[in-house]
Subunit: 439 residues, 4 copies
C-alpha cells in the first residue's frame, strides 16, 4: 500500500481534545458524529477522532493537580494493549473495544480515528505481561529510560523484532476495530521527554515512527498516520514525508492571537513540504465552544476576523483541518466559516508565501491542472492596514498567470466580484483580518 | 548537629564498585574490612562502603546487555524501602537489614557506608505501597517524570511534606542499622536524567539534597552525605557546601591517563572550595585489582608514576580518598602508595594551584597553624621534563614562607632530604610523574 | 527576470580554490579555461570561477601563519569596491577589472564567475570612502559588529537604502565586466561569525542575500548566485530557494572518506529541495591535482572507487559540479569520470533516497518526461558487501516503473547490459564503491 | 607586589557612567571629586573614575542611533595608545594625558581611576602604527577577529610577547599619569563578542586579563584592576581571584526592582568568593541623579526602601561601592544612605546567605576578630511581610554566637536598640524593604 493514497487531500474532521480534554465518552462522540453527518459531511468533513486517555479510569478527577493522574488504573488486555475504559465507552465491554463505536461512525458515512501514546504501558512492563506474537514479555520490550515528559502512562518500545511484534499486535487490534486514523503522540518531537546521553532528544521517536508505519502495512488496513506533538523538526521533513501522513508543526495550538500570528512563521518554513499524502499540520482549529474538560469552558477567544484569518491560512497552506469545538454547540456564524466551499477549495493546491513581515503576510496558490490562481492578504498588525501588490510582481512568482490583470477578482469569502482597476491589487483590511481571491 | 563536624577531614575508605560493580556480597565486604583493619586503618583509612544495587536480585547476570536489569526484582519492606538482597547478604534476613554487617565493621574500629539511588522504587509507586509516617501512598510521593538516565530502579520523590516523610523513614532505617556514610547517586548532577521543560536539568535533585540533609538531622545520627555523580555544578558550590559533605567533580573516574590529566582542570576550578566538612570529590582511586564485576578484571592500567601523581593530586587538593581495588589482592608497591604518612599528611591543608598548562601543574599548600609549606610538581607531558620555580615567585603566592630559600627540601615520597642550591627549585620528572616536598 | 532561468540545470564548472587557495593568477585561469574548452565543454562543463582574494596583494606569503593576511593591502576603486590585484591579473590594469579575462573566457564559449565576500572592505569604512549612488560614505554603510569569523577583509553592509546602493554599485560593476556567476562567501551560514545578542547567528547574512538578489535584478544581467559556506540551514530552505541558485550544504569539502560518507546524511536531509534553479550544493569535487596553494600539493586522497561514488552521488542527488583540480594536470582515468555521459545524464532528474544505513545508501531517480528510471547502490562500509532490493519494494517508491522487472539493466558507468534474473536486484560492491543503472 | 594589597577592602568611589554616559568632561570630574572630598571622603569613599570613551571626539552626538559612533575620531599617540579627548579634557593638551587631572584628584586626598576597553584601536591596526617596546606594528598585535560586540573602537591583542609589550606600554603610560584604578571593559565576560570556532566565547579575554595583571606588576605602580562587564563566570572564579581585584557579577545594573531582586541570586552564587583583594562586583549604585548622557535624566527609579535594600545587600555581601549619581545633585536623604557608618562597617566582613526564597532573603556576617555578629532581613515580596528566625537556627549557621539570645539588637540603619523578647527574631518589613542588626 502506498501510504500517500490513504489521504490524497488534507484530512478534515473533529477531535475531542479541545472541548473534552481526557474525559470524552461514547455518547458525546456519537453526538458529534451525528452533527458532522448532518451539517458538515457534505463539505468534506469526515474524521471523528477520540483523543487522549480513552483507556484511563476516571480521568480528569484530579484536574487541579494533574492532567494525567500518575499511576492510575488503565484498561488493558492480556497482551499489554490498552482498551477503552468500559465506564465511559460501554459498548466496548466484552472485549469489543472500539469496534461498535467505529461501526456507528461508519454507518454515518464518516471515518473513525483514535489517539495513542507512543509505547507500551508502564505497568505492563513492571508486571512482565505478555505480548502477542512473541515470547518476549513486556519488560523486554519496554525501555525504562524512554518516557514522555508530560504523560506518565507509557514506556517507549525498543527497536527490535519483539518491539515490532508489539506494534503489529496493536495495529492489528485497531484494524480489527475498524480504525481509519491514528494520531500518535509523544513521537513527532520528543524534546525534553527522552533520556539520551546528549540531553535534548527531539527525535527519539524516529524508530517507533518506522515501526508504526510498518505495522500499518503489516495489518493491511489503510490508516492515516498523524504524528504529535510539534514542533516537527524541519531537518526530518524527509522522514515524516516518507513514513507519515501528517505531522504537527506546532506545540498545542489554542485560541490566542500570538499563537496564530506565529503560525505564519511556521507555514513559511514548511511551505515547500505539502504534497498529496504529506501534510504539515497546524493543529486543531480552536473555534466555537472549547475547554470544558480543562475547567475553562468558553467560546473561542478568537475574534471573527481572526477565525477567518485562521481558516484562510490553514486552507491556502494545505494543513489538515480538525475541529476542536463541541460541534453540537456551533453557532451559525462559526458554522458559516466551516462550510464556505470557495475557501475550502483552496485546500489541495500547492501554495507559496510571497512575503511575511511583522505586519503582513501574502500567499498565492495555483491549481496546477486548470491554471486558476488564488491570492490571500493577511493583516498581521493591530491596526487597519492597506496591503497592495502590483500585477507584474505577482507574475514573477506565478507560472500560469496571464500577462494582463483581469478586470475583477472573485472574493472567496463573500463570493462576490471585486472590480480591479489598474495594475495593482490594493485592499484595506481590519486588524488581524484577511482577504482571499480567485484571480 | 553541624554537618561539617561529621567529616572534619576528607574521608578515607574503600568502596565496592570498581572491583565488584553491582555484585558484591557480605563475605567480600567483610574480607575487605578485615584487610583494612589490619593494614590500612592506622594510616587513617576507615570507611567501608557497599555500592550500588545491594537490594537487587541476581544483579550482573545480564551484564552483556545491561548493567542494571530493567524491571528486575528488588527487595523491599512494606514501607517502600529497599532492603539488602538476602541471597547475597544472608545476615540481613529476618528484617535485620545491614545492622549485622555494620556491627561487624564497627567491631573492627571502622565505619560503614552504603550507596542509595535518589528516589523511591518505581514498583512501589505502581503498586501504591505504603510510606511510613504519612497516609500518602508511594504513588503520591513518586514523580513519574523524574527518572535517572542510567538506572531504572527509582522515581524521584516530590518536594512535599509526604516526600520528606519518606526520606525521614529511610534515614531512620539506615540510622537504626548503624550506617555512617550515605553515598547518594543521581543527585549531584542529574543532567539528561530529569524531564524538565527546559530540557537539560542538571540540578533536578536540588530539593532531594535538602530533604536528605533534613532527614539526617531528623534521625539524629551523624552520617556523612556524599553526592554522585559528577561533574558537580560549580554554580551550585554554595549549595553543596551548605548541605553535603562531599560531591563528585567528575563523572565516573577510571584508570586512564586522559581522565587523570583532566582532573587537574577540575581541581583548578574547585580549588577554592575545600574546607572542613566540604570536599569536592575526585572519585575512587582506581589502583590495584579492578573490574571483575564489569567482566574486565585487571590490574590498574595506571603506571606506578601515574598512581603517584594521582595520590599526590588527591592529597594536596584535599579530595576524599576512596579505594576502588579489591583490597585483599593489593601488592606491596600499591600498598606503599596508600600508606605513606608524609603524602597523606597533605590531605587536610588548604592548597592552591600555582599554574596549569598543557604540560605542567604546580600546587602549593600551607599548614595554617604551623606555617609549614608544601610544594608539588606534576609533569603532564608525555616526555621527561624539568619543572622549575624561583623562590621569590613562590613567595608571591605563599603567606608564611621565609624570605630565604632553605638549604634543603624534604621529599615527601622518599622521606629524604633534597639539597637546594640557589634560589630556584628545579626538578626533572619522568613523563606523567610528580614530586612533592615540604619546604 | 526569473532567477530560476539563470541555471535551469545544476551548474558545472571549475573553481580555482582547491588547487590555488588564494593565489591564482590570470595565466593560470586562462590555462584552465583552455583545457575546459578543449576537453570538458562538450560534456556540459562551462563555468570558470576565480575564487577568494583576487583583490589581495601578495596573498599566501604568510601561509604558515595566516590563510588571509590581516590588514594587508587590498585593491579598491574610489567607490569602496574591490578590484583585481593588478600584479596577478595584469589585464585588469587601467580600471578594466575582470572585463578582459571574462571576454577571454567567453571567447571559448564558456562562462566566467568570481568569488566575493559578503560586505564592504573594512579599510573603506575606517577611511570614510565614497559609495556610488548615495551620499552616505562607507562608514555609514558598514556595520562594525558584522565581521566574518575567518576572513578579516570586510564588514557586513547595513540593511538600508544606502546599503542596497552599495550592492547595486557592486553588481553593476561586475555586470559591466561580463560576470556570469557570483559565489558569495560568509553568507549562507554565518555561524560564529556575526555578533548578535543571541550569540550564534547562523543566518546573519539573510538581508544581504536579499540585497544581492535585488542587485542582480537591478543590474539586469542574469548572474547565477551561489552562497557559501555551509552547512546551509534547512529551516531557511525556502529562503535560499526564493533568492539564490545554489547553497552549500556542507562546510568546505575535501578528499576524506569521512566527509564523503557524511555527505550521504546531508543529501538525505536536502533531497526534497532540488528543483530547476534551486540546488543544494555539495561543494567542489576534490579529484585530480589539489592543494598547491595550501602547501599540500598532492593527487586526491580519494581512491578511484571513492571518486566514482562521489560523482554518482553528486549526479543522482543533483548537486552543482565544480572541479577543484588543476585541470591541465588531469590524468586519463580521472578525466574519464568527468566525461561519462550516462552518469552526467542523471544530473537534472528528481531523485529520492530509498534508504541510508551505517553501511548502505540506495537512491532512485526518474525522468519525469520519459518515465525512465535509475537506481544507484552505494557500499558505505569498509568491506565488500552485497546490496539487494526486490523489484516490488522498488515499485512502492517509484511512480512510473513497470510491474515486471526487466531482463537486464544498463550499467551507467560501463555502458554494458547487466542481465537481471528473478525479481531482485542484488549486487556485490567493493568497499566505498557504488553502482548505477538505468532500469 | 601582591595585588591583594592594592585593595584590602572593597573599593568605594564614584564613576561617571550612570549620569554622563560617554560625555563627561574635566570640569565635571573635578566637581564630583570636590564634592566627594567635602562630603563623602570621611566615610571611606575615595575613587574618582572616568568611564568610557574619554578618548573619543564628540561622543554622544548621534545618541539616537549609536551609543558609540562607528569609525569616529579617537585621540591616539604615536604608539597606538588612546589619549584623552583634548576638547573635553583641556589639561591633557601637550601630551600630558590625565596627569594633571590625576594630580588634582590626588590633591584632594582621593584616588584616580580610568576605564579602558580591552585591546588596541582598530584604526591603529589598519594603519600599521607603531607599538612602544617592540618592532612589531599594530597590525601584528591586533587580532582582526577579536572584537567587542557593543563597542567598535578596538581589536583584541594577541597573546604574544609583542602583545604583552603593548599592554606594558599602556600601563606604563597610565602609571606615569598617576592612575590608581583601571576598569577594563569587554574582558570579564566576552560572550557574543569574540569569534571562536565554538561560537559563544565568554572568556575570550582570559589571556588579556593575565597580560594586564603582568603589565601592572611590570610598571611597578599598584593599580586596582576591575573587570567588566558581567556576568562573571563562576567557573573562572579562581582566575579572577588570582589576577584581578574586582569582577562584575552582572551585566549593567540599573534602577529597576527586577534587577535588584535578581542580584540576590547572584550574591547567593558568589557568596563564598569574597576575600581581601578579591571582590565580586554588583556594579554601580544607581541612586540620586542619573541618565543625563543617555537622554533620560531622572532621579533614581528606586524607592527609598529599595535603596536601603540595595545598600544593605552590597555592604553585607562585600561588593565594591561605586556611586553612579551626579554627586553635586545629591539630596540629603540619599546622602544619608551613603554616610551611615554602621551599615558601611559591614563591608569588610565575611557573610553567608541563610536562605533565599521567592519572597525572602536572610544574610548573616561575622567579624572574625571581635566575634561580633550581624544579621539582615530582606523582604523581596511586593507586600508587607514578617520575617522570622529562631535563635537556635541562627546558631547552627554562626560560629561565635552566644548560646543565649541577647535582650536587644542594635538596628544598624537607625542606630537604636531593638528589644528582643524570647528566642525568635521576628520583624515586619515593608515591600522591598530590609532591616539589619548587630546581634
Amino acid at each position: 500500500m502506498n501510504k500517500n493514497t490513504f489521504a490524497p487531500r488534507p484530512p478534515m474532521g473533529w477531535n475531542s481534545y479541545d472541548y473534552y480534554d481526557t474525559t470524552v465518552n461514547e455518547e458525546q462522540v456519537k453526538q458529534n458524529a451525528d452533527y458532522m453527518a448532518a451539517h458538515l459531511k457534505s463539505f468534506g468533513w469526515e474524521y471523528v477522532v477520540v483523543d487522549i486517555q480513552w483507556y484511563a479510569s476516571r480521568p480528569g478527577t484530579m484536574r487541579d493537580k494533574f492532567q494525567y493522574i500518575p499511576f492510575s488504573h488503565l484498561e488493558m488486555d492480556e497482551y499489554s494493549r490498552l482498551l477503552p475504559d468500559p465506564e465511559r465507552f460501554p459498548s466496548s465491554a466484552g472485549g469489543r473495544g472500539f469496534a461498535p463505536l467505529a461501526e456507528y461512525v461508519h454507518s454515518l458515512g464518516l471515518k473513525f480515528g483514535i489517539h495513542i501514546m507512543r509505547g507500551i504501558p508502564r505497568l505492563a512492563a513492571h508486571l512482565h505481561m505478555a505480548v502477542q506474537g512473541t515470547d518476549a514479555a513486556a519488560d523486554q520490550i519496554a525501555d525504562p529510560y524512554s518516557i514522555c515528559g508530560w504523560n506518565p502512562d507509557m514506556y517507549g518500545v525498543r527497536n527490535t523484532p519483539e518491539g515490532q511484534a508489539y506494534y503489529n499486535s496493536l495495529l492489528e487490534l485497531y484494524a480489527s476495530w475498524g480504525v481509519d486514523f491514528i494520531k500518535c503522540d509523544n513521537i513527532c518531537n520528543t524534546n525534553n521527554n527522552m533520556l539520551f546521553p546528549s540531553g535534548a532528544a527531539p527525535f527519539a521517536g524516529k524508530a517507533e515512527i518506522e515501526m508504526l508505519a510498518n505495522a500499518i502495512q503489516h495489518c493491511g488496513r489503510p490508516m492515516v498516520l498523524s504524528l504529535s506533538p510539534g514542533p516537527a523538526l524541519i531537518e526530518q521533513a524527509w522522514h515524516y514525508e516518507k513514513y507519515a501522513n501528517m505531522w504537527r508543526v506546532t506545540d498545542d495550538f489554542w485560541d490566542s492571537w500570538d499563537l496564530l500570528k506565529d503560525m505564519f512563521r511556521r507555514c513559511q518554513i514548511w511551505q515547500n513540504h505539502v504534497s498529496p499524502g504529506c501534510y504539515p499540520d497546524c493543529d486543531m482549529l480552536p473555534m466555537g465552544r472549547l475547554g470544558k474538560g480543562f475547567g475553562q469552558e468558553r467560546e473561542s477567544r478568537f475574534t471573527f476576523e481572526e477565525q477567518k484569518t485562521m481558516m484562510t491560512l490553514w486552507c491556502i497552506f494545505g494543513s489538515p483541518l480538525m475541529l476542536g469545538a463541541e460541534l453540537t454547540m456551533l453557532d451559525e456564524q462559526t458554522l458559516s466559516l466551516l462550510t464556505n466551499p470557495r475557501i475550502l477549495s483552496l485546500l489541495p493546491f500547492p501554495a507559496r508565501q510571497l512575503w511575511l513581515t511583522e505586519n503582513e503576510a501574502v500567499w498565492a496558490a495555483e491549481n496546477p491542472e486548470t491554471g486558476e490562481s488564488y491570492l490571500a492578504f493577511f493583516n498581521l498588525s493591530d491596526e487597519e492596514r492597506t496591503l497592495s501588490l502590483a500585477w507584474n510582481e505577482l507574475m514573477d512568482s506565478m507560472e500560469k498567470l496571464p500577462d494582463q490583470a483581469p478586470s475583477s477578482l472573485l472574493d472567496l469569502w463573500s463570493g462576490q466580484k471585486l472590480p480591479l482597476s489598474g495594475k495593482k491589487i490594493a485592499f484595506r483590511l481590519p486588524a488581524h483580518g484577511c482577504a482571499a481571491w480567485k484571480l
